[in-house]
Each structure stands twice: as structure tokens, then as C-alpha cells.
Symmetry: D2
Subunit: 483 residues, 4 copies
């Protein structure tokens, strides 16, 4: 670069862009550095208490000393220690013990006895947050589906007009996809197992030694730890780490949730392109800097972007799966430091955005009606085919005849010749066996062209509405203002 370039300022810490731009406070709290240290200290204290109760000579006062200082979380000091020891857990042990002026935490524990359990707790809580917001999204989708239950819209396959459906049904369709993902999420949460206190290679040797070889006591300790963490089940046979394919399961479940939203967002982008809906503006929002009038589907695009991100994290965690060496190592470490929080920030940002879109989207019935009108005779062809068959025509023969006329009419339309007059073309063909009046009667009943769409919306609502009760606050959940 010529001219005098602006000098690089001293580097401020680079923020996590997903957390700081898109994620909610609730999700950030789970994954913040201080939040994690708080979880760790609570964990250590819980272990000490249980160990003491089981006979390990830990003075009650020592535990109190730890409890007294547990809220003193000084990230800079811990960071400084780590830069000396080059061992993150060691640094946090020393910080806590120096604060308490004691040496009783982490007895018989290996680093992973701490970190695996605390990280799984973060995952578990984050999964619950995702479940809540997915419920909120389903409820918001349900409201929109209900509101537009009967609004006929031109259904499209291959992106070209195919048959009518209703806007409510179209939304319910994505709702169904989301429900499948939601069910999977529920199943996972129901059985998500924690590693527990298993020692350096998973044999519980050090706790056994510490507790005098009494395996009953070891089991009690494990049970106490489980209860403290709030899990139902622990893994009975692990190495230094829990199986990393479990991380893959978690992230792929998040991706599935995001995919349903992304399918919906993609279709909103398509509808916005045809002027049928917009995703709406938030108050004070500025559009494109050079094209001020545009109501861009930028939030929907963002949803698609988040889904692409989750796809990448699926690959990362997939890349960890099946690669355990013996009892484990830390080749997964840097991957999980990145992929676990960021996957949750991404799905959180995605759901915040999706709920916002569902709350503020605008529908333009006049534009939708105009599109229907242009396409109606074409959309009715399958019904006409059905009617022809019902009156005894051969399916293949009628199909060929209709194809001939619709192609000709479509060609006329595209050439700018105005009226395609498909009806007259069809009426004149004996292979079809329907005169103009019969055809007009069919078109006149256009309301029924949407088939079972409204009832399908009802079926969706039957599944979704009970979520309101089960997930308190989900119905009224309002994301914070999006960037």
C-alpha cells in the first residue's frame, strides 16, 4: 500500500465473533471463561465434600476456605500462571489453592476428571437452552401457520409453479422438519451420559487407592458427583476421555435443528424474491447503504449461513470420531475448544434469528393472489388429468394431450403474447374429454385445489401447541434485538 498506512494499533483481544455478534446472554453465560471456572470450583468442592464424607482426611475448614474464595475469579492471574506452567488445569488448581491457602482439591483426580465432566455439564445445559428455543421456534412457526392456514399460494417444485398449497401448510412443512429434529434433541437429552470420575486411563484406580481400595466407596463418590452435576447416567467404561463420537452426536443434532430452519429461511428468500413476503425490518434497521429501498432477506440468509457453519462443525467433530488412540489423548482438545462452544453459539444465533424472522415477517396477500391468478390454469392440470381419468380416459393418453397444450400455452406466454388461453386449447381436445364448461367448473372450485393443506396445518398445531405448557416461557420468548 502506498500513502502512509494507518499504523496497526496494539492488538486488543480478538472476540469470538459468533458469541459477541449473534449469541444470547444465556448461551454466552454457559460458555464464558468465568462461568466455566465457577463450574469447576463448584465441582472440586463437591468432590472434596464427598471424599471427606467417605473418609479422606480433608479438614472441614479447608473446604470452607475454598468455598470462601470460590467467587474470586481472576482471569488475568490464571492466564499468567498458565503461561508459566503451560498447563491450563494446573494453573487453575494453583490459583484456587493459593487463594484458599490449601492443597486439598483435585485429590486423586486427573485433569480430565475435571474437564470432561465440566464440559459435559456445559453441553448439557446448552442443549437444554437449545431445546427451549427450538420449542419457541416451533410455537412461533405454529402461530404463522395458523394465521395463514387457508391462504392459497402457488406451490412450487423445481422452483416453478406446480399445484396450489397454502402458506400455512408451507410453513407447517418446515415445522414438521423441525419437529423431527426436536424429537431427536429430546431423545439425546433424555439419555446424555456423563463420564464421571474415572481417573487417568478410566480404571478409577486413583480414587480406589485414595479410598483404601473400597469399591463401594468409589461407587458412592461417583453417585455423589452425578447428583451434583444433575445427570442421570454415567458411562461405565471409558478411558481418559468420553468417546468423541458423542460430541459428533451432539453437533449433528444441532445441525439437524438448524437445517429445518434453514430450509424455511431459504423458501422465505425465494418468496421475498417474488415479492410475496418479506422477513420484515427491525426498528431502526438500515438497508443496503447504496440501495435504501430494498428489504433484503438478510436474516434469512444469515440463518442459512449458520447452517453452513454447523455443517463445518459436523465435519470437525466427525473428524474426531473414530480416532481415539488407546485410552485417549488431546488431539481433540483444540478442536473441542473451538467446535463445542461455537456450535452452540451458531445454533443459538440461528434460533434467535429464526424466531425474530417468524415474529416480524410480513405477508402480502395481494401479491400472492396475483401470482395465483397468473398460474391457475396451469396449476389445475393435475386436477384436470384426474377428472379426465375419472371419466374413463387412459392416463397416459390424457397426460400426453395435456402436456402438448400446456407447453404451447407456456410458450405463448413467455413470448409475450399475453393471454395463453390454455382453457380453450384443452377444451378443444377430445383425448381429454372435458368441454370448456366442465373445465371452468373445475377452475371455479379453486379453493379445493389446496387439497388437505389446511388440515395438515391443524395436524402440525396439534403437535406443537402442547409445547407451550411443557416449556414455560417459550410462547412469549422474544429474542434480543439482532445486529
Amino acid at each position: 500500500m502506498n500513502d502512509t498506512p494507518t499504523p496497526f494499533p496494539t492488538a486488543a483481544p480478538i472476540p469470538n465473533v459468533l458469541a459477541e455478534r449473534y449469541a444470547s446472554v444465556a448461551m454466552k453465560d454457559i460458555w464464558s471463561q468465568t462461568g466455566r471456572i465457577a463450574l469447576e470450583r463448584d465441582f472440586w468442592i463437591a468432590v472434596m465434600k464427598a471424599q471427606r464424607d467417605l473418609g479422606v482426611p480433608i479438614p472441614a475448614d479447608a473446604i470452607k476456605d475454598y468455598e470462601r474464595v470460590k467467587g474470586q475469579i481472576d482471569l488475568a492471574s490464571i492466564d499468567k500462571r498458565e503461561r508459566v506452567t503451560l498447563h491450563d488445569v494446573k494453573a487453575r488448581i494453583e490459583e484456587f489453592s493459593d487463594l484458599a491457602k490449601r492443597q486439598f482439591i483435585h485429590l486423586g483426580l486427573t485433569s480430565r476428571d475435571l474437564t470432561e465432566n465440566v464440559e459435559q455439564l456445559q453441553i448439557f445445559r446448552a442443549l437444554k437452552t437449545v431445546r427451549f428455543k427450538t420449542a419457541a421456534a416451533l410455537l412461533a412457526l405454529g402461530r404463522q401457520a395458523e394465521a395463514h392456514r387457508d391462504l392459497m399460494i402457488t406451490g412450487r417444485t423445481h422452483n416453478v409453479p406446480a399445484q396450489p398449497t397454502t402458506l400455512g401448510k408451507r410453513l407447517a412443512m418446515f415445522g414438521q422438519e423441525l419437529l423431527i429434529a426436536f424429537t431427536r434433541l429430546e431423545e439425546l437429552l433424555e439419555r446424555y451420559p456423563v463420564r464421571g470420575l474415572k481417573g487417568a486411563v478410566g480404571t478409577q484406580l486413583d480414587q480406589l487407592t485414595l479410598l483404601g481400595g473400597d469399591s463401594g466407596k468409589v461407587d458412592q463418590l461417583e453417585a455423589r458427583v452425578l447428583r451434583h452435576l444433575g445427570f442421570r447416567a454415567s458411562l461405565f467404561a471409558v478411558g481418559q476421555v468420553y468417546p468423541r463420537s458423542l460430541d459428533f452426536e451432539v453437533v449433528s443434532a444441532l445441525h439437524q435443528v438448524g437445517a429445518a430452519a434453514a430450509s424455511c429461511a431459504t423458501t422465505v428468500r425465494l418468496m421475498a424474491g417474488a415479492g410475496l413476503v418479506t422477513e420484515g425490518f427491525q426498528e431502526g434497521q438500515v438497508g443496503s447503504s447504496s440501495m435504501p429501498h430494498k428489504v433484503n432477506a438478510r436474516n434469512c440468509e444469515r440463518i442459512c449461513g449458520f447452517s453452513t457453519i454447523l455443517g463445518g462443525f459436523v465435519t470437525m467433530t466427525s473428524g474426531l470420531s473414530g480416532h481415539q488412540w488407546n485410552e485417549g489423548d488431546v488431539s481433540c482438545s483444540v478442536v473441542r475448544r473451538l467446535a463445542l462452544p461455537d456450535s452452540f453459539f451458531a445454533i443459538d444465533g440461528l434460533l434467535e434469528t429464526f424466531i425474530t424472522v417468524l415474529r416480524q415477517m410480513e405477508v402480502f396477500p395481494a401479491a400472492i393472489a396475483a401470482e395465483n391468478e397468473r398460474n391457475l390454469p396451469f396449476l389445475a392440470t393435475t386436477t384436470i388429468l384426474m377428472e379426465a381419468v375419472k371419466r374413463g380416459g387412459g392416463r397416459e393418453t390424457a397426460h400426453a394431450a395435456i402436456k402438448e397444450h400446456t407447453l404451447a400455452a407456456a410458450k405463448a406466454l413467455r413470448s409475450g403474447g399475453g393471454d395463453a388461453d390454455l382453457l380453450s386449447r384443452l377444451a378443444g381436445d377430445k383425448r381429454i374429454g372435458l368441454n370448456k364448461r366442465a373445465l371452468q367448473t373445475i377452475l371455479g372450485e379453486s379453493a379445493r385445489f389446496v387439497g388437505a393443506a389446511p388440515h395438515q396445518v391443524d395436524a402440525f398445531l396439534d403437535d406443537v401447541k402442547p409445547l407451550a405448557k411443557k416449556h414455560k416461557g417459550a410462547t412469549d420468548y422474544r429474542p434480543a434485538r439482532l445486529l
Copy 2:
């Protein structure tokens, strides 16, 4: 190339390499071209019968005519038709109808009413096959874990000796990973939903029209179709297609199964490198062409390869997820034609290989014992640390002392200095507070160094053994000879 090159012969059809080299007959049957056509014809006949019962004017004789010819599957003829119409379903409709000399199949159906349901049936059956073989793998793993329940082996983290475990426990550890994947597979099979007969854009319009607008009859038709296919649930709100994130769910579940096996295979490769085990030879197998003596872990390597393949198919199906446009299109078509059967061929080949390895692997206890001996004083350091702490030493102080001596001993060892004499070094250090006799006593109890490993094997067996009853034939399942 110089010289006269061998002329390329006329191209024989290129086989599906996963199917033809690795997959079992059972899995190939599900995905073969003829198998699929058979399913389609059965489906069409079932629909016709149901439609006739519900009042659609289909002569009973017509149905009989179709039934009479349904076994006449002529792939070449169908292929020829497709190359004319450029529409695969159309080609198969025409073939079947021309054979029967009737035009009654596919009434009110769109192509996807046929293909989605039939493909989901293939997926469903293939999932069941995978479930069976995963059960067989778990049982085989259980047998090996049981056989080596108490065989002490040097546990490793970061690939270096850490603490003793048992070989049985090591295998149970991978068994636990596989059990998680198995549970996920079971949950998925339990609720895997089928699209059903929903029409061009999912509104059931054409069946409604065909059945005189009687939605009760449409529901009966749907129920008949479900019963024919053997599914419990159908999706209530779909477009032309079922949500493609469901394919992602299936493939990611397969990947999770494969990952557990791949972790185990990776560790067998590591153990083989140290001469502790081999995966065994099949009868008549030739090793490396230039190094005849080597017992390569090539089947284990293959398992890892299959896992990598499944990771790629996860990406492919992930790439379909979240990309639905409106009521659907066929941008997924070529992807699913490849990724669905090939994912199942890959997991099938993987499981066939894994079960084979588990059946023929050889364990060398003498070599394992020799390794233990070399490493025992080092492996005992955590136990020594625990004992020091129990006797009142500060954890951090003792830790530092032990580190000092083990590093020095390790250095001596690596320099070829023969005996590292770690024990004397430790005994001489007051910070640890254990004399030589106390240390020798600790080492003498080496059997207990495996901690709870044998009991963890038992816990694994408790979970696995009931599978034998639930999955008939799984215990004795013997893969065909591997290539």
C-alpha cells in the same frame, strides 16, 4: 506412453466398488436394481387394491394382470425406455403397464409418491440390517472383553504408557462407544417416519380428487399404504419430498456406529505396531507381496477407511439439509442415488470387517507382559502419589518430586543406560515419604493397579448379553470371507 499401449477394451459396466467388494448379500439385495423394482411393483399393486376398495374404478382383472407379470423384471428394457423418455419413473410405469397391457397403476400419484416411499422402505430395512450387525459386533466384542477381562496391559494416554488397564476393559471401552451409537440407532428405527401418499406438492390433492373429495377415504388409503410398507408413522406435512435432514440423521447415525468400530480398529493398529496383538489372517490370505512375513492390520485400516467414507457421506447429506426450495426439487436426487446406498454399503462392509477382526484377532500375552514389566515402575507413579498424599504429603510437593525422578529415570532409559532404577531414586526423596520397602510393596500389588477395570468389563457384559436374545442369530453371525 511409448510402446504400443494395450488398447482400451469396450467398456464393461463399472461396478459399485463398495457393494461388490465389501458389502454382504443381504445389504446388496436391499439396494439392487431388481430388488427396488420389485418393491415398486408391490407398492403399485398395493395402492391399486386400496384404491379399488375405496371406489376407484379399477377392474379386479387389471390388478391380476399386473400381479401376473410383476416378476418379469427386465432391466435392459427399462433402461432402453428411460433413454427415450429421460424420465426414470415414467420408464418403469410404461414397462410394467405394457407387460400387463393395462393403464391403472400410478393413478393420482406423482413420481415421488412412488420413489420416496420405496426408498424409505429400503432405508428402513437397511437400518434394521445395520442394527442386527451392530448387535453382532457388540456380542463379539463382549466375548473378547470377557476373555481378556483380567489381562493387564499398559494403558496409554498420548500414546505413551500411563497406568495399567486390562485388555478386556480396553475393548469394553470401545464397546461402550458402540453401545451409545446402538441406542441412537434403536431410537431412530423406533420412530422413523415415512412420507406416504401426499401428491405433487404434499397436499394430497390428486388422491382427494380421485376419491371424490372424500378426505376420510384419503386417510384410509394412506393407512393402507403405511400398513403395506410396515411403518408405524407417516409425516403429516410434507412437500413433494420428505425433509432431507432425515437422510442426514440416518447417515450420521451410521457414521456414529462406524466411529466406535474405527476407534477400536485404530487401537488394534497401535497394538499391532507394538507386537501385542494382530488382527489375524484369514485362511489363504497373502500378506504384502514383497514382505511376506508381515501381519498387517489391513482389515483394521479398512475399518478406518470406511469411517472416513461415512464422514464424507455425512457431508453430502449435510449439504442437502437446509436447502429445500419451496415444496422440493431434485437437486438432491443424484446425491441420494449415490450417498444412500453407498453409506449403507460402507457401514455394512465396516461391520462385516469389524466382526471378522473380532473373531480372528490374536492376542500375545507374553508380549503384553513384557511391555508391562518395562513400564511398571513408571505406571505406578500415580499410585505412589496417592499413597504419599494419604500419608500426609502435600499433593503438589510430592507431584514435583515424583516428576523430577521419573524424568531422570526416563532419560537414563532412553540413553540406552539400561536400568533406570526409578525405585531407588524415589526411595531416596523425603518429599515423597515412602521408603524402598513401602515402594516395593506397592509394586508388588500390581494386580490391583488395574483398578476397577475388570468390573467395568462386567458392566459392559451386563448391557451386551441381553442382545443375544433380542437379536436372533447375532451371537453366531459370521461374515462371509473378506476380500
Copy 3:
């Protein structure tokens, strides 16, 4: 399933779906089983001749015996042998030697000395085929861009109207993306290195031994092999295998080619949805079975599908990269058997499809003009803003004013209120400083709204047209009829 199901017929071999449905004969020839065996036999013979020339005691008659039978490729016999030895290369050695009644091939070679080189030759040739077809695609794209160089079309960002461009420019834009990928392909082909004859762990030991320890002779042998294969460079330091990240480089280069085509195909799908273009019908093609009139962008969708497939193969080959253990193993084997040919079949099918679309696509200028008309006042807003700024208005002030009016006009339009009358709204606002006449003058010059678009097309053509000469036959390349 109830009723008597159609029995599964005996399994016919399952074909490679990408090869048999989508790939060209040229590409299939490269990867066919017989084609590969032909390459191998030529390779063995070339090595024997060179070895003999360098003093290895191989009778000239023996070589002739091999040459005499090299065309006798009996896949069934080879397959039978492999099922005995469980070693594919061994089976092919024995077959060839038994045919020749000699034992002189493969002297001093390890399996990988054969297979690595032959597979790299397949890759090299397949890359050249891809280069040729990419050139053909660029030329076809150039023709369309030239034909529609000046055809104004509504440019869209965020899928909503933004500013005018030309259809030719839009196509050139995707052409530019393809050119970048093409350049990368050319760079790769220019330097693609082959492994050469390096022995079991890459040290050339066995050839050295065979040639009496004469490293000069070993170099001559290597040079002869290179010349035979047609490569310029061999790798100087490899293990048993060449680095697998080279496969990743190849497949990611293919994906990049496919991505450019997929971007173009995606936009054709969008344009087809608005009725502006279709991808055209091939002769005899049948549309949707139940909606005969639809001209679906199914080939464009297929292009997108191929791109998704290539993305998955990128993941597979990425999963091989960075995972070499020591001098190599075969954990990559099954992955490469699948991913290498299938990646090339996918890109081949993609390019065949893309060129077909570019040859048969139909453009509807009347429909394009109608869309422009609806959007013109809106599209002109950035020009109006520029003009306002040129006359001294503050950019931010004018921007705010224009935004206000365009949003109001857009709202009126969507509410079905017919004429949005944006012009009058703008003319009445002093912040903008342009009266109605000035505004009409701006709109009247709509031809210039396309900016430099036509010139950008010319720049594209300048880059593309020289390819016609460099790649003989590319201009007139016509894919076979697509399925």
C-alpha cells in the same frame, strides 16, 4: 409388507451409479477395470524392458510372452484368484504370469510400485479430460454471454431487484468464477508429480539390490518409468505411498470447477422460477409425470447435486490428509477406490450436464423486459442518489430521503395498490434536489443503467476465445444425450 411380496431376484452386480447414469464413455474408459489392468500390464512390461536393458537377467522371450498375452483380460478369472489370495495385486500378477507362463514381472516391486503409479496415471488422464471439458464449458458460456451481451436484466442481490445488469454479464460472472478454477486446474496439471518406483518404504532398496547397488542404474530405471507414464516429475522422497494430501488437492480442484458451474445453475434455477429462462428440453424428454407442462430446471438441479457430491468427496480426501502413519498403510485404500473414480465421474457428469444446459437453454426476452419495467424506478435509485450527490446534496441526507420514498412505494405495490408512483414521490422532496423532468431524463437513459456490463462480457470473451485453439474440439464438443 402384506400380500405376497415379489421375491428378491438373484443379485445382479450393482453398477456404479455415477459412472453408468452420468459419466461419459471417455471418463469411464479411464477408470474401467479392464482399462486399469491394461495400464498395469503395459507398466509391468515397460519396467521389465528397462530392467533388462539395465542388466537384470530377464530373457527377451519372456517379455515377448507377456506382450503376446497382455490383451487377454479376464476379469472373472482375476476375481477368482483374488478371492483365494485375498490380495488384489497378487491375483493380477499370478493371472498375467500364468497367461505368459513366466515369472518375470514385478521384480523388485512392491504392490504400491505398481498401483500408485497406475492410479496416478488414471488421475492425470482424467484431469486432462476435465480440463478439456472445462474449456468446452467456458466456450459455451462465452457463446451465451456474447449472444446476450446487451440484454438488460434485473440484477438482484439478496434475491431482490437491485440494479440492472445484462444477461450476458451475469453469465460472464459465472464464467469468471470458472476461469479461476480452470487456471488452478492448469497449474496442477503442469506440475502433477508421480511417485515412481520407490519400493516398500520408499528407499528404492529393492531396485538398488536388483541392480547391483548401482544408483545410477536406479535413476535410469526411474527415468524410463517416468517417460513411459508421460509425467515430467517424480517425487524424490516418499514412503510406501505418495502423500494423500495430493489426492485432496486434486479433488478440491475438481470441486472448485464444479462450484462455478453450480453457482450458474443455481441462478438459472432462480431465473426459471421467474419465467425468464428455461434450461430447455432435450428431444423426447418427459417432464413431471403428473404435471406435464412444467419445464423443470432438473439438469441445473443435478449440477447442484453433483457439486454437493464433490463437497463430500472433498471431506473424504481431506479425511485422508494428515493421517499418514510412518511410511504409509492402506487405511486410505477403500476411500480412494471410491472417492477417486467417483469424484471424476461426478465432475464429468456435472460438466456434461452443464454444457448441455448451456447449449439448449432458452431465454425469454419479453418476460425479461416485463420484469425490468416493473422494477425500473426502483433500480434507478442508486443512479438518482449519485446524481443528487453530484449536484451537491449530502450523501447521507439524500440516502435517507430516497429510502423513505422507495419503502412507501414498495409498500403500496405490495398492498396491491397498483401504481407505486415512486417518481412523483421523489420529485416532491427537496432533500433530493431533482425535479420530475430530471428524474424522467434519468429513467429515459435506462440503457446506460447496465454500466460496464457489456464491456465486462468482452473482457471475458478475450480470455475465453483463445481456448478454442488450445483445446481442439472444445468449441464443438457435444455431450451425449443426458439421462
Copy 4:
């Protein structure tokens, strides 16, 4: 959780974990928020100056006003603005203009005219940094390869002993892989093209309007911008954005660099497991908290982790490729905000770690020699086979004989029977035709078993050493202390 949990503290900003834990200051500077804003302001000023020179009425004083305040970068203030406007570029425009009290920046620019170019500049600089560090890594690898050029080590395929090689050659092998990636990186940097000033849909309309329709002036403006940025080439036909497959090209090139390092790191992990090398300790580093003596290959594991991360970012950017809609949108935005900097932080952390490992790794020749001794008779079998063939034995016959004896000897060894006595077994078999003395002579020449390995190291050094001159400082580059 029971007990009173430690309350979550107010959320501190969550840092970018890759940047803050692993990346170098140089790389962080490129991607820091303030660094980016500095680049943007320089860009705006350069554009203003060029516009003024070309006749746009921008007062010289206004430019000075902007220059005066360009160093006043207040992230909090910008952030506040963005939270009002919900438009990041708008916020930065307003901040800068309010500081300067002028409204002359961003004339005729769309947001992407700013952001695309600035981001490409970041990419370009970051690529140069990666090139430098890759050169440094190659040089460090070269030094290790040279130091261990002749150190015989047991070469392994399938992770079991195969043939001898040298440690230097093994390292050179990974060096070769890295060289391929390095060449690709250089090619990419050589031609990496920038988008330039192309306007809202890429037609340069707004600059044309601003410059009175004078396309010559527009070209001059573009040239000035290019020169300012330091690029050689701009893209001639783009939309709102440059093609996203270019981002894929960049990230996949980074992954290829990382893969070579990861292959090397994987093999170091394997060697460490056998006690042949360690990656060394940094001063003050603490090993495992419960197993203090272990020298874990944690940095090598981290390298593998970074490679897995890059694989995920390959998927993310692959997921952007081929998905452009018309002239572009922002569905890529959130993905690029994450994937671009983080890919560079990952490769930067990887290279920092890799260079550190190469600088501090320890090799244990005594342990390596001991391993060779155990394996030598087995490793010599291919040489023995060659000798047998040279003396006229049939290859297949001798191969079978050798296989028989080596398998028996290996079995004896594994059963703990001590001496396998392979030599006597071989000497007794006439099919091989070598007596004991002949065999001992072969073994005695073990130095030559490494074949051409040392010469291959030399070839590597020939390629690598010139990099020292071309990349000043690369030879002595020392990463900062790793965490």
C-alpha cells in the same frame, strides 16, 4: 446442582480461542478489529484521493480532515452505532464521517466495494504470513532431516516393521508433502485476484455515473485502487461479491499445508509411543497433572487437532461454493466472519506449534538402534528375496518359502520364546538357495538396507535450502512460547 452454585459473573466478552491461545501477534494484527478498521479508512482515503484527481468535487481539506482522524479508532462507539443502525458498514461510515465532520467517503460505493477489498487484503497478507512460516517450517524440517540423514530406523508400513529407512528420510518424506503444499500456496499468491470497485451488482454503474459516464476514468480509478491495495490483478466480471469458491481455494490450500505437518506430527506421536523420540518439553512445562513423568506428544496432537479444524473450515467454505444466487447475497457473511480469520489462526497456530516441535524434538539413537536390532532379520527379507531371485530362484517360489519361515519366527517371538532364529530357518530351505553364511553377509551389510534414503534427504535439502535466501528471517524464525 445441589449446594449453592457459584453465581455466574457478568459476562466478560468471550475471546476467540484460536486467536488468543494459539495464534501469533503477526496474524492477530491482520485480523484484529482495529486493524481492519485502519485498513478500511486507508482504503476510503485512497478512493477519495483518486476520485478527486478524476474530477469528483471532493475538497482537498475534506480529505485532510479524514486523514487527521483516521487513527482515532473507538470500537465501543462503532459498536454502539451498529446496534442502532443494524448495519455494520453504515456504522463505520458514520463514525468516520462524524469524526471528520465531513460526508465524502464511500461515494458511489456499495458496502461490498469496501468490505470485499479489505477482506481480500487481509487474506492476501495472511497468506503471505503463512508462506513465510511454511518456509520456516521447511527449513527447520530440513535441519532435522540433515542431522539424521543417516540414522537408520525401522521403517514401518501398516504400522509394523517393513524395511529400514533413515530418520532423516522419514522427515524428508513429510517435507516433500509440505513442499507440494508450499508450491500450491505460491501459485495462489502469485495470481490471487481482488474484486475491485465494481458497485452494487458488479457493473461499475455508480462510479460511471459519478465520473460522468467516462469509462476511461473508471478504469483509472480501478487501477489506483489496485495499486493502493498492492494486488496485481482484479476480477473483470463479478457481482456484488467475488466468487466464494475463491475462499474455498484459499482455505483448502491452508488445509493442504496443515496436512503435511499433521502427517509428520502423527508419525512423531507413533515414534514417541515406542520411546524413539519425544517432541521435547518447553522450559517450565508441566506434564500430566497426575502422571508427572510423561513426555506427552501434546503439541503434535495439537497439530493434528488444527488439521481437523481446517478440515471443518474446508467444509464450511465448500458449503459456500456453488451457492451464489444471482449477483450475490450475505448468506456467506456469518460463515466468512468465522471461517476466514479462524482458518488463518488455525494454520498459524499449527505452524507455530510445528516449528516449535521441530526445534525442540529429542531423538534417542540408543532406543532406535535397539528397535532395529530386534527387527533386522525380518527387515532384510525383501533383500533376501531379491538376492534369491538374482541367483535364479523363481520370485513366487522364494516368496512363499520366506513367508513360511518369517511367519513361524514371528509366532515364536510373540509366544515369548525368545530367539526367533529366523536366519537358521531360512538357511535350511533350498527353495531360497542361500546358505547361512550368505545370509549373514547380507545382514552384515545392514547399512545399505537404507537404500537411497540419505540421497533422498539430499534431494530434499536441495529444494529447501534456497528458501532461506528467498524468505529473509525464515531460517531463524522462533515461535513465541506455546501455551
